[in-house]
């Protein structure tokens, strides 16, 4: 499935500076795999040591958080819009 992926500012340097790329995959996990293959610099930002998604990254498909869909197994349709976002949090 061809989909578009929004790259957060903090990862754009690894994707040639662009804010959006096209990718192909039937699940979010496949798209993440493709991004890491294509842009190896993103690996440490996207991947946890166990191969899952980095704990400080959120992924949205058509504005829905994949944590409430099927996580990395969330299936994709043609033209879906994926957004990768850094988790922004902290504490006193």
């Amino acid at each position: 499935m061809p989909v578009s992926v929004r790259i957060p500012t903090v990862m754009r340097a690894y994707a040639g500076g662009v804010s959006k790329v096209e990718a192909t995959g039937s699940t979010v996990g496949e798209v993440v795999d493709e991004l890491v293959d294509r842009y190896p610099g993103m690996a440490t930002h996207l991947r946890a040591p166990d191969g899952g998604l980095h704990k400080f990254v959120n992924v949205y498909v058509n504005d829905e958080d994949i944590r409430y869909l099927g996580k990395l197994d969330t299936s994709l349709a043609d033209g879906d819009e994926i957004a990768i976002l850094p988790a922004v949090a902290g504490g006193a």
Binding site: R6, V10, F56, D63, L85, A89, G90, G91, A92
Partner: protein, 146 residues
């Protein structure tokens, strides 16, 4: 160095007080490195807009910004030719220095400017930091008229 107008500074402080008793947070839109190239390229930013956000934690000790709010802010800023350059949050009872949580959660945000507004003293104060690979570097905040 973070350049900020006086009006934006007042917005930041007002939002910090509005959030009490919880920590308040918001995003900074602007232009990174408007001062050209050189050894400090990429180290500076001019803030053009403050985007107040909700504290999804509803907590006096921690904050988080919901991804959908972040996405909306990012789209809006980009439509206006700006980008996210940092995040602001308040410390309601402690100094404006990054906590261990702030530092660990900054792992993927090495390009960002972290502004902390402290409400500990009767008068609000703020400091700005870069947090890269777990090391904290304070940077000056330059207040300008416009």
């Amino acid at each position: 160095m973070l350049r900020l107008t006086h009006d934006l500074w007042l917005e930041l402080v007002a939002h910090a007080y509005d959030g009490l008793p919880d920590e308040a947070c918001g995003l900074l839109g602007g232009r990174p490195d408007p001062f050209g190239s050189g050894p400090n390229a990429g180290m500076h930013a001019t803030v053009e807009r403050f985007v107040p956000t909700a504290n999804a934690d509803h907590s006096a000790r921690t904050y988080s910004i919901d991804g959908s709010e972040l996405l909306r802010a990012e789209r809006q800023l980009e439509a206006d030719g700006l980008e996210l350059v940092g995040v602001v949050h308040s410390h309601t009872h402690t100094e404006a220095y990054p906590s261990p949580t702030d530092i660990s959660r900054a792992e993927l945000l090495a390009d960002w400017h972290f502004v902390i507004v402290s409400l500990k003293a009767p008068e609000a104060s703020a400091r700005s930091y870069r947090i890269i690979d777990g090391s904290v570097d304070e940077e000056p905040i330059i207040l300008v008229d416009r």
